[in-house]
């Protein structure tokens, strides 16, 4: 909440935001004050003293303060150009000019103080145009943007200089170029001879916006630097979309035990274990170290664990295991064995539900009590998978395979397994509950690579914001976002900095969900890399659509690219069981009344499950038609010849594949 305070500046009364700096207040009032060490994206430092003003505090006490770091807290009187101030500033300007007579910012600032000549002469004059004027901006940028201490001051008085430790190139410098960006004189230069971008400065200027946002906004937004994607666990639990017990529920009272700050306060010890992009100031990757393993071949050993991140922690909830150390342990062994944590947790959650429902028993699991929350049994299953022993051999084949075997050999209920087996196209679903977001059901199920959210994540837009109510709206989102996200892949760029921190003024943009400011930065980056200057949304969509449609054709070649392959299991769409229905009865009853126009009173839960299901499945069918059309596909889900032609990819070998399926 912004409290306002009345202050007078040069005898004019104005309002200032409490705790803003005096410099901000003065500038907001339209007055000019010279600065040298100040930079809008950095914390104020007060070292050049050029921004001084004279103030009178409530007690009538007058003094000179540096305005860039003086917080406005009481109704003061301010003079930006009192006699004293002007005299001081002139003196300072002369001193700076004597030491750095050719540095452009010094000359400019001296001029605004009315100084062009200096009376002082010293032995330490550095008259290079690109002299370091010791403003310290680079030191602060390194500290604030990337939490590093690579460049710093060394030496005293006249020998003071900015350098890296021991005057050598520090291998810990991530090359983010933040220091060069804020340097007012050009004393620090980017020498990029690693991959020869066409225009390194263009890239730097685009990238630097993110660095500043990470320093200023991230702590107030998603805290990616502190907790990485782990922050999503808390959000999903609070919005009822955290997968709990094979996606039956979207939240759980015990989920607090695996909230991100539990990991932050007790387990995570370092950033950047992934060794992601050099120079990434977000550094969202987290690692746990040391962690003593409790099971498996490395039991008792202390290890470094790369994670856990959101999907892995949410996967633990999906298995009903609200134990942070379990999440870390299964994370470690999945990584060590080369098993994907999402596939493991989703598959094991399915096995657990089937076990609890009596579809399989200890007879089939080799004695493993695979109930929700049984961490020891889950870990034993994981070790068996890796060793190729026991029940682990079967589970390692994935949900699709298990369903077939259990129906054929154990007489399990085919329809039930189909409903609760969270896979599409044979791939296990990633860790979000999509029951209340029709668009995301499509986002998962129509994704060419299978149900991962790499193509689109529309749950908030759809379910919380109600921004895409019609089938056409949903289709537009399912057209744009998969193409935009495919584009990251084309250029090998990380997606996280697109929308895990957003510009302060993003909310003013028309399509705020697209985070247009960041889309523009990505375009500038690619332009700077390639030496082009015409990246646009249209061009991006076209580049992506070529690859995306090619992927869909490959999908067809692999036997998955038809309409029949794009259906979700019902658990993804709504409550399968009466237990599930009853757990959110108010919500579903309301929908029956308002959307389906059916009176839920006096109906059994089983009946209501059935009616809701008919409605939701019908909605999905209708949406599919509109989405396929928007993507330029036939009703059967195959790219049309016209679309291939339009994209310039109507190559004979591709046409041959899709031609038989044109309607």
């Amino acid at each position: 909440m912004a409290e306002k305070i009345k202050i007078t500046i040069n005898d004019k009364e104005v309002e200032a935001v409490k705790d803003s700096t005096l410099l901000q207040a003065v500038r907001a009032a339209g007055e000019k004050v010279p600065t040298l060490c100040h930079h809008k994206d950095l914390a104020p430092d007060g070292n050049c003293r050029l921004c001084i003003c004279e103030i009178e505090e409530a007690q009538g006490h007058k003094r000179i303060v540096t305005s860039c770091n003086y917080p406005v807290r009481e109704p003061i009187k301010v003079w930006t150009h009192s006699e004293k101030v002007v005299k001081h500033r002139k003196l300072l300007a002369e001193m700076y000019l004597s030491r750095w007579p050719s540095a452009r910012p010094v000359k400019a600032v001296a001029k605004t103080c009315g100084v062009t000549e200096t009376r002082f002469r010293g032995d330490h004059t550095d008259d290079k145009e690109e002299a370091c004027i010791l403003c310290g901006r680079c030191v602060r940028a390194c500290e604030e943007f990337v939490i590093e201490d690579i460049v710093n001051f060394a030496g005293r008085s006249m020998h003071r200089q900015v350098t890296m430790p021991f005057g050598e190139v520090d291998p810990h410098c991530i090359g983010c170029s933040s220091c060069a960006y804020v340097c007012p004189t050009g004393a620090i230069k980017i020498v990029d001879d690693l991959n020869h971008p066409a225009d390194a400065v263009k890239i730097r200027n685009a990238g630097m916006k993110i660095n500043a946002e990470m320093a200023r906004l991230d702590p107030l937004q998603n805290r990616m630097r502190q907790v990485g994607t782990g922050n999503i666990v808390d959000v999903m639990d609070q919005y009822d979309i955290l997968p709990v017990m094979n996606y039956k529920f979207g939240s759980h009272p015990e989920a607090k035990k695996i909230y991100c700050d539990v990991f932050r306060n007790n387990y995570w010890t370092q950033n950047q274990c992934d060794g992601c992009w050099l120079g990434c100031s977000m550094a969202c990757a987290k690692a746990t170290e040391p962690f003593e393993l409790k099971t498996g071949p490395y039991k008792g050993q202390k290890v470094i664990v790369d994670g856990p991140e959101y999907e892995t922690i949410a996967g633990a909830a999906n298995m009903g295991c609200f134990d942070p150390e379990f999440a870390i342990e299964y994370n470690f062994y999945c990584d060590t064995y080369g098993i994907d944590t999402i596939s493991f947790s989703t598959c094991t959650a399915f096995v657990m539900e089937a076990f609890e429902a009596g579809q399989i028993t200890t007879e089939h699991t080799g004695g493993l009590e695979l109930k929700f929350g049984h961490t020891a049994a889950a870990l034993e299953l994981l070790h068996q998978m890796a060793k190729g022993e026991g029940f682990g051999v079967d589970v390692g084949q994935g949900i699709r395979w298990l369903k077939k075997k259990w129906v054929a050999e154990y007489g399990a209920d085919e329809r039930f397994l189909q409903d609760i087996g969270m896979e599409v196209k044979g791939l296990e679903v990633s860790e979000y509950v999509t029951k209340e977001s029709l668009a995301q059901q499509g986002g998962y199920s129509m994704a060419v690579k299978g149900p991962q959210h790499d193509e689109s994540w529309l749950i908030f837009m759809d379910m919380v914001n109600n921004q895409i109510p019609t089938f056409e709206d949903k289709a537009e989102a399912l057209y744009y976002f998969p193409l935009w996200r495919t584009w990251f892949g084309l250029f090998g760029l990380c997606k996280i900095i697109w929308n895990d921190v957003v510009p302060a003024d993003n909310y003013r943009e028309k399509d705020a969900n697209k985070v247009p400011g960041h889309v523009r930065s990505y375009f500038r980056y690619v332009e700077g890399m390639l030496g082009i200057d015409d990246m646009s949304e249209e061009k991006m969509l076209e580049q992506s659509a070529r690859v995306y449609n090619l992927q869909r054709i490959i999908c067809r070649l692999l036997g998955y690219g038809h309409r029949k392959d794009d259906y979700p299991p019902y658990r993804m769409m709504g409550p399968v069981t009466a237990e599930e229905y009853e757990s959110r009865q108010d919500r579903y009853d309301k929908q029956l009344k308002e959307l389906v126009k059916v009176d839920p009173t006096a109906k059994s839960s089983a009946e209501k499950v059935k009616i809701l299901r008919q409605y939701r499945e019908d909605q999905y069918e209708q949406m599919m038609d509109v989405v396929y059309k928007r993507k330029g596909w036939t009703r059967g889900g195959i790219p049309t010849l016209a679309r291939l032609k339009e994209l310039g990819i109507d190559l004979p070998e591709l046409v041959e594949i899709v031609r038989p399926y044109q309607e």
């Binding site: 937004q221 749950i459 908030f460 993003n506 909310y507 705020a512």
Partner: protein, 65 residues
């Protein structure tokens, strides 16, 4: 009665933007709020009073994923 993201919410006299977010259980960090198409700065959530019949949008920008 006011609408929040097209859903109805009972109106209470003196209700602020912060109260509306709380009533909706909107705890997310990346929310942009508008009341009758006027954007409300985060700093004003505690003081901006929402009138009856207002159309409130609390836009959640997705992340993660």
């Amino acid at each position: 009665m006011i609408t929040v993201n097209s859903k109805e919410l009972p109106w209470l006299p003196g209700m602020t933007v912060a109260d509306v977010l709380k009533a909706m259980n909107y705890s997310y960090a990346l929310i942009a709020v508008s009341v009758n198409d006027q954007f409300i700065a985060r700093d004003d959530y505690d003081t901006f009073v929402v009138e009856d019949e207002a159309d409130v949008k609390a836009l959640h920008i997705c992340h993660g994923g």
